[in-house]
């Protein structure tokens, strides 16, 4: 696992980089770090002019942020900055909380998902989510992964079985659970449960996966496995990860967005954000002066 991580950091030019070492804009030639993604592309998800209110309290203020396909975008920021609030808009999970209001538009492949024309259940099949705390169903391991298929109308037992195995393999959990698929998912360790939740999400074949602080309750080894998995998954999916952990953002993401008090302060290539933040507040945050 470590080797992959090291390779990745080399490839990203991050091998000598540790966020805590950064004290301010270091001597980097800014021209070599253009803001366009190296791979350049239309955003998969595009939030435009998004304002969000809990009752009369404004939680997000004029967010304009795009997410590129097959890239990992990290959203960082101190507690209460609105980063979790923001990604819950992307699959409309915010609707579970009564008394909220959303302004602006959020485009998925160019089509607005905020209006009544878009069915929330259909949207959530395309935009999957992995939560802060592992939340497997109190069912067997197999049933957990099969659940998404069943609610989406798949009835062919063989097909379901194949998909379940496939998803568990993709989530790097198959080897650990293949002999106990009929055991309760609650018997797994925290890290295994979180990978099960990822497998459950993958089974539905989403296009985008939202990770809401997926490692917040995990130990470092489990965290490493999840991060490794995220790097693997980005080959196929658009990934957005909210994280408290700046090292994690640096390790897994291609792009980073920094939120502060409900506003998007700065977004760009991860390397550039960490080495040469343009905004003083970003710099203060990543150097640990607050947050």
């Amino acid at each position: 696992m470590h080797d992959t991580m090291v390779d990745y950091e080399k490839q990203m030019g991050l091998e000598n980089f540790h966020p805590s070492l950064v004290k301010g804009p270091v001597g980097i030639n800014m021209n070599s770090l253009g803001e366009a993604d190296l791979f350049g592309s239309e955003p998969k998800i595009d939030a435009r002019g998004v304002n969000f209110y809990y009752g009369s309290k404004k939680a997000l203020n004029n967010i304009n942020l795009g997410f590129l396909p097959r890239r990992v975008t990290a959203i960082i920021g101190p507690s209460g900055c609105g980063k979790s609030t923001f990604i819950r808009l992307l699959n409309r999970m915010h609707e579970l909380v009564p008394g909220t209001r959303l302004e602006g538009e959020i485009l998925l492949d160019g089509l607005d998902i905020t209006g009544p024309a878009c069915d929330a259940a259909e949207l959530r099949k395309r935009v999957g989510m992995v939560f802060q705390k592992p939340n497997p169903f109190p069912k067997t391991i197999f049933e957990n992964v099969a659940y998404g298929l069943e609610v989406n109308g798949v009835t062919d037992k063989e097909l379901i079985r194949g998909k379940v195995i496939d998803s568990l393999k993709k989530a790097a959990l198959w080897g650990e659970v293949k002999d106990r698929l009929k055991d309760s998912a609650l018997g797994l360790s925290g890290g295994q449960q979180q990978r099960l939740c990822i497998a459950r999400c993958l089974a539905v074949e989403p296009e985008v996966i939202l990770f809401d602080e997926p490692c917040a309750s995990l130990d470092p080894i489990s965290t490493g496995k999840i991060e490794e998995l995220i790097l693997e998954l980005k080959k196929e999916y658009t990934i957005i990860i909210v994280t408290h952990n700046m090292q994690q953002a640096a390790r897994v993401s291609d792009r980073t967005a920094f939120f502060l008090m409900g506003e998007l302060i700065e977004e760009g290539r991860t390397e550039r954000i960490f080495k040469a933040p343009r905004d003083k507040r970003t710099e203060d945050y990543i150097t640990g002066r607050f947050g």
Binding site: R124, G128, N135, F137, K139, Y147, L186, G187, R200
Partner: protein, 305 residues
């Protein structure tokens, strides 16, 4: 590292309490625990005493004929088989009516209904319903099911009346069970593209089932043993043969016991049969509960590691 740690601990002056204060607190704790243990013992004593005396007085009356035959010779001989059958019918009928209705109401109240004062009022009303004396339910059943709806004195009238009696217990147990299902697994289901209804049916209800079954267990005990609600709606002192339709009058164990102790001309013989019937009623309630407990345990095993 260890050393600095230990010395750090050693350097903290121990918190000293005046000796008298410490002694007093220790004594208070001992008295407290003793009182709790005494309460528990009293509980067990009464429970044990009930089972002991019913067993002592009832066991003598019970034999195979008692379980399988109808009463003979003006209730002084024979068995109580029709009353056992009647109680089973009434209890099962009541649960079949109250369980779906109660669970559905609880699901509506916890999952769907808009939060507000109307729902709170409904909740309070449901709880108050549990406090209504059972004879009042009996009169209600007489007016509505027996007379107005024309079911007559019958299994169906009795089952419906008992079902209404069981409803508040089932609703509040189900509500508690549903509220205890973590929000996080509801979110997990919705995030996979399930609708709210699918989420409730496939995730929330299975997770809440053990708690719901606890409500069923409690209400089976109550329903099977009630006399007043079936007094005017279902029960008869003596019915020839076994019920052949839901509209038949039936004998039932609790009413049978009541009748044996208050009517008739051979008090000694009747008392013996009444104790025998009580023992059977206890066993019946216990075995129906055991079935629910068994289902609950199996569910817990599958779902809760």
């Amino acid at each position: 590292m260890m050393n600095t740690h230990e010395s750090a601990i050693a350097s903290v002056p121990p918190v000293r309490q005046p000796a008298r204060g410490r002694k007093k607190r220790g004594l208070t704790q001992k008295i407290g625990f003793a009182a709790l243990a005494a309460c528990m013992a009293a509980n067990i004593f009464f429970l044990g005493a009930i089972i002991f005396f019913i067993g002592l007085k009832g066991l003598g009356a019970i034999n195979w004929a008692f379980l399988t035959q109808a009463p003979r010779d003006a209730m002084t001989a024979g068995g109580v088989a029709p009353a056992i059958v009647g109680t089973l019918y009434l209890t099962l009928g009541a649960i079949m009516f109250a369980l779906p209705l109660g669970v559905a109401s609880a699901v509506y109240l916890t999952e769907y209904s808009p939060k507000g004062w109307i729902v709170n009022l409904l909740r309070v009303s449901v709880n108050n319903l549990a406090g209504v004396p059972s004879v009042v339910f009996g009169l209600f059943g007489l007016t509505v099911f027996v007379k107005y709806m024309g079911f007559g004195v019958s299994i169906i009238s009795g089952s419906l009346t008992l079902g209404i009696l069981a409803l508040p217990v089932i609703i509040s147990a189900s509500q508690e069970a549903l509220v205890a299902v973590p929000q996080s697994i509801r979110e997990a289901s919705l995030a996979l593209g399930a609708t709210q209804w699918e989420t409730i049916r496939k995730v929330v209800l299975p997770a809440a089932l053990p708690g719901i079954l606890t409500g069923v267990i409690l209400s089976v005990g109550r329903v099977a043993g009630e006399t007043a609600p079936i007094l005017f709606t279902a029960a008869a002192f003596y019915v020839k043969g076994y019920p052949d339709s839901p509209f038949s009058e039936v004998m039932a164990l609790p009413y049978h016991i009541y009748a044996l102790m208050t009517e008739g001309t051979h008090p000694e013989e009747q008392t013996r049969i009444a104790y025998g019937s009580s023992l059977i009623l206890l066993a019946l309630v216990l075995s129906v509960s055991m079935i629910a407990i068994f289902i609950r345990q199996r569910q817990r095993k599958t779902y809760h590691a």
